[in-house]
Symmetry: C2
């Protein structure tokens, strides 16, 4: 046992250098956004004092002012006034999440979802017609996909778009209340047009879901005939975003309002598409959502930074109880339990930051050819990106929910006051686990990708299709495809055999290779277990839906294991680029703390499957405690390096907890 | 493996009979409260639409109207208009938590904290002066204990009350901003007097913290000279309660304003008390807080009922995805993962309900002699009650936070709309984990009690004292005191030896005796481990504060293990009173699901300590899944039996998720 604060190891980090490492190649973009945040910092207070209508207007104003700085246009082609740099676009968006999250969400709706749909699903005439005004924030729009009765199952949408060859128009209709568009941002007040997802019907034949530009309001903001809009009303958070419901009563739009990058309808009513398979076509269109997922994951991770910065700073000022006679109470962060609550979350925040940097870089690579239809060779890469984006989004947003809540509790009663930021942080980020893809569904998508190697056909499968597909394969062929297997093989050349045969159960715990071996072995084992169970169920003649239901927790567990492994890999890869010195030492501690916290949290699995001995399992817990004490003296610097602008910390509690 | 819904076992329960069982002996009181809630149901909407000032007034009005029905006065003597029935008082309070929680909290502040302090710490003149008006809600008051710099460490409060023998007055002073009273309910607007906790100084000598009645406002509501009050402003939730900060600038009150049940100051400035030891005196006074903790725990558990009822009902209506060609999507509750998310929480809600019933009954027994100074013999019993109350409060309120959050996520986007209740439920209950004792500190209190057998001296020890105390004892003597040891001995006569020697790892999993043996063994082992570590640390000459910091997670883990064991015991005890039949079968399933979920969640511990084999550990997980499928067909009835008034469900999402 060592002291509550372990004096060995580094006690200082170079904060500026660490911030530069975290900011990476988009440091300038992040600086621009931080400056914009500081300039409009009063919006944090406005969120509490303004009426809902006033605050919605205020958020819109701030979004437009930020658009004026170019901050929100990085994702668009230069010819329309954009920055033509996807990576910059993601960096700007996620950094924006250090501030008010209604602004972030409004930006996401306008430039990511609405703008992204026009850009990715439309063609030059649509770009010419909308992009310039859209980028400036002059033309506000909606992304009308979700319906009251259909959230995750987009293929089952009820809204129809029926081609009328007589007039050359599409007729957009809401057949029943389950098919009303719901939770649509910008719908209740500000949106003038919407990209509406609807079942395309031509000549009585359905061609599946396609996207159409449908005007909602005239220049004065009056809702157009045939359109009915209802305000979703108050939400848990994000009340600066005007979510609404939309019904269409045979609204007619010109044929050219079909966003026709992937499919078209000719004047005479002939349907054509460069992608023959209707499912593949649908999921190719849906693939354009990937940027939104990357952005939301990054926003969640950055919101966590604000919470952990406040809670750590508070714990470095606030004193409670103490040794009798010392006349002085102890700092909260000198309590072992308080270290346990906060420091593994700090480590995980760093880990997810680097994982996010990786997925944003992949997105940049895959999407940097605007307007070009992807070559078939790119599809595998693109699906792998979709899976990585889905996984990072799920873990990043769950991390936000948990971290913000734990930080609130760790600040006690002071944490409950809105002025100290946790109110907005938790209320606003809460829905991040649901929107842009429910996290549970996203992890199923990750598992599907792993089990089917992102097969040409995989995206067209729901869980039932996945069950059938896997049931038709040999388990070995599933495993050969997973990266976990090849990592294991590579690591086995590096890592000495079974550690448990060594006398010292502590041996090697802090080697990245051993940690990665553990997470990879878990992933491989869980995936093969899922594949076996699916096969066995089908072989026994069960209904695929039942087979899936029975294994669902296992499927999701396997995906979780995969994502934690790739997060650790991203952290270890990043570490290799860092020069030796105190910063590298500090990051090594965080990486160890992250990896061992993951192993500790799931140590029952490692024990059950004979991957660690009882003694080693206990050693992991001891080491996590020890790492907390090592990180303790660095904690202040490590949260400073996250570079949350002081105006965004706001927290009154930090002015007032000194002794 | 069985089907997603397991058709074996009961498929029906007698809902009315189950509600009667849950309501217990205070069914009439609970019915009164449910009727009052239904009558004032519009307050749920008012919470969203009114300004903060309007809503505070509305909450006050509702509290007064409820006071008029006698609902809030059960805890007071009949001679002042009360009901003189502590058990009824708790039942009324916790049932009130099915509705708006600002009302609940305002009731708690006025009748529990303020009223309770006057009743428990004051003597007949105080009762005569305040109780009748207080019970009617005519005299509104505050409980001014917490200070900005001192939350959990009440003994370190900075406010002083200095006796001036010349005038026969106490002078109440706030020496600095750390000593301002903070988060005080009723302070910002409605409170006319406060019970102020301050360091009593007589003749230059400090006698520790005592309570004084201090007027805050005149009849018109104007703040009195020398008193300064600031509004705490907006909070995460409970915005119908007017929390404030108070500074006292040499405010003079008559000598008789000391609440003098346990100590007095004579006119000439002589201090006297029936309790010689100052620490014991202080903790005896603090012991009167126990009722508040019992009430808050019950409120958390009842708020969870609302959330689980909405989420289960939604999952029984909402469909998503489905077998191709079936033309029908699956109900959410037929997905294995969805069952996993909700049904163990339903089981835990039932378990905590029965644990709460037990602690409320104990409170009733211990506190039912109003005004009498407790006999020394009662003290052990009283401290055991305090520990049970602390533990149930901690687990009950954490359960509320987690359940409400999980239920929100399980309802997707619909869960995010305020109209569907999760907004207020989670925002309002969030601080339950902090107020009336921070949960982490409360679990430390539980552990202290176990380690010291509620010794005469135990309450006067902070963690340092506890470390020293335990270090001075033999570990065996710690264990002999724990109930866990005697349970284990009793069970070993009943339960056959090591199950793992049996071929079938499933054997006995559903025997309550085995489950209780597991939880008791964990408790005993963890407690003895803590005792050993504390001794070892002190023996090695370490600073007690450091020793405590290093073991703190272990201390808290031991307390958690203890509380889960007593919760399971309460459930099993209740089951013994139920007649055989479908209701008993259903409750048996819930009890098994609760117990096995606890074991599953901590199965790493059981594995590490050789209490279960790998095969048995996996069997526990399988059995939890199987129990979820068994409970699945009963889930609708089981949430109906919780008897949440339909007006309190409110949830719009339930009208609109059918197929």
């Amino acid at each position: 046992m060592t002291e509550p604060t372990d004096p060995s190891g580094p006690t200082k980090v170079d904060v500026a250098a660490l911030t530069a490492l975290l900011d990476g190649e988009y440091a300038d973009v992040r600086t621009l956004v931080r400056d914009n945040l500081a300039e409009h910092a009063s919006i944090l207070e406005d969120a509490e004092t303004m009426s809902r209508d006033e605050f919605r207007q205020r958020v819109l104003d701030v979004v437009r002012m930020m658009a004026g700085t170019g901050q929100t246009g990085f994702g668009f082609p230069k010819e329309y006034g954009g920055g033509e740099d996807i990576g910059a676009s993601v960096a700007a968006f996620e950094t924006l999440a250090l501030g008010d999250l209604s602004v972030v969400t409004k930006v996401g709706v306008q430039f990511g979802l609405f703008g992204g749909a026009v850009l990715q699903l439309g063609t030059k005439p649509h770009h010419d017609a909308y992009l310039e005004r859209l980028i400036k924030g002059d033309l506000l729009g909606c992304f009308a996909m979700t319906e009251s009765g259909h959230g995750s199952n987009v293929q089952a949408l009820g809204t129809t778009a029926t081609y009328d060859a007589g007039t050359g128009e599409f007729v957009i209709s809401t057949p029943d209340d389950r098919a009303r568009k719901d939770y649509i941002g910008n719908a209740a007040q500000h949106g003038h047009v919407a990209v509406v997802f609807a079942q395309l019907v031509v000549g009585g034949e359905s061609h599946g879901v396609h996207a159409f530009v449908v005007p909602l309001r005239d220049e004065d903001g009056t809702v157009l005939p045939g359109v009915r809009i209802e305000d979703c009303g108050r939400k848990i958070g994000l009340n600066g975003v005007d979510n609404g419901r939309i019904w269409f009563d045979d609204v007619r739009v010109p044929r050219t309002n079909l966003l026709n990058r992937y499919a078209n309808v000719s004047e005479d009513g002939t349907y054509s598409s460069g992608i023959d398979n209707p499912d593949r076509r649908f999921f190719t269109m849906l693939g354009t959502l990937v940027q939104g997922r990357v952005c939301v994951g990054g926003a969640g991770i950055n919101a966590s930074k604000v919470a952990i910065a406040i809670a750590v700073k508070y714990a470095l000022q606030r004193r409670q109880f103490g040794s009798p006679g010392s006349g002085r109470e102890e700092l909260l962060l000198d309590y072992g339990q308080h270290q346990r609550r906060l420091l593994p979350m700090l480590a995980r925040t760093y880990a997810l930051h680097f994982a996010q940097e990786r997925v944003a870089a992949d997105l940049h690579t895959v999407f940097n050819r605007f307007g070009e239809v992807q070559a078939a060779d790119d599809e595998h890469e693109r699906r792998a990106l979709e899976a990585r984006a889905a996984g990072t989004k799920a873990l990043g947003t769950w991390h936000a929910s948990r971290t913000i809540q734990e930080c609130r509790e760790a600040c006690g009663g002071a944490g409950y006051l809105s002025v100290n930021r946790f109110d907005a942080l938790r209320a606003d980020t809460d829905v991040f686990t649901t929107f842009e893809g429910d996290n549970t569904i996203l992890l199923q998508l990750v598992a599907k990708g792993l089990l089917t190697d992102y097969k040409d056909s995989f995206e067209d499968m729901d869980q039932i299709g996945m069950v059938r597909f896997v049931a038709g394969m040999a388990v070995e062929s599933v495993l050969e495809r997973t990266n976990a297997r090849s990592i294991l093989e590579r690591l086995r050349d590096v890592v000495p055999g079974n550690r448990d045969s060594v006398d010292d159960p502590e041996s090697g715990l802090q080697e990245g290779a051993w940690q990665l071996e553990m997470l990879s072995a878990r992933e491989e084992h869980m995936l093969s277990g899922v594949a076996r169970r699916l096969k066995r169920g089908i072989d026994a003649g069960r209904d695929p839906a039942e087979v899936f239901s029975l294994c669902q927790d296992h499927v999701i567990g396997a995906a979780w294991a995969h994502v934690e492994r790739i997060v650790l890999e991203a952290f270890l890869d990043k570490l290799e680029t860092v020069e030796p010195g105190p910063n590298k030492d500090a990051l090594n501690h965080l990486s160890d703390l992250f990896a061992l916290s993951c192993i500790e949290a799931d140590r029952a699995w490692f024990l059950e499957h004979g991957r660690i001995s009882n003694a080693r399992s206990k050693a992991v817990t001891r080491r996590v405690n020890q790492l907390c004490r090592r990180v303790r003296p660095l904690a202040g610097d490590l949260v400073d390096a996250l570079a949350v602008p002081p105006e965004m910390l706001r927290a009154e509690l930090l002015e007032f907890s000194g002794s």
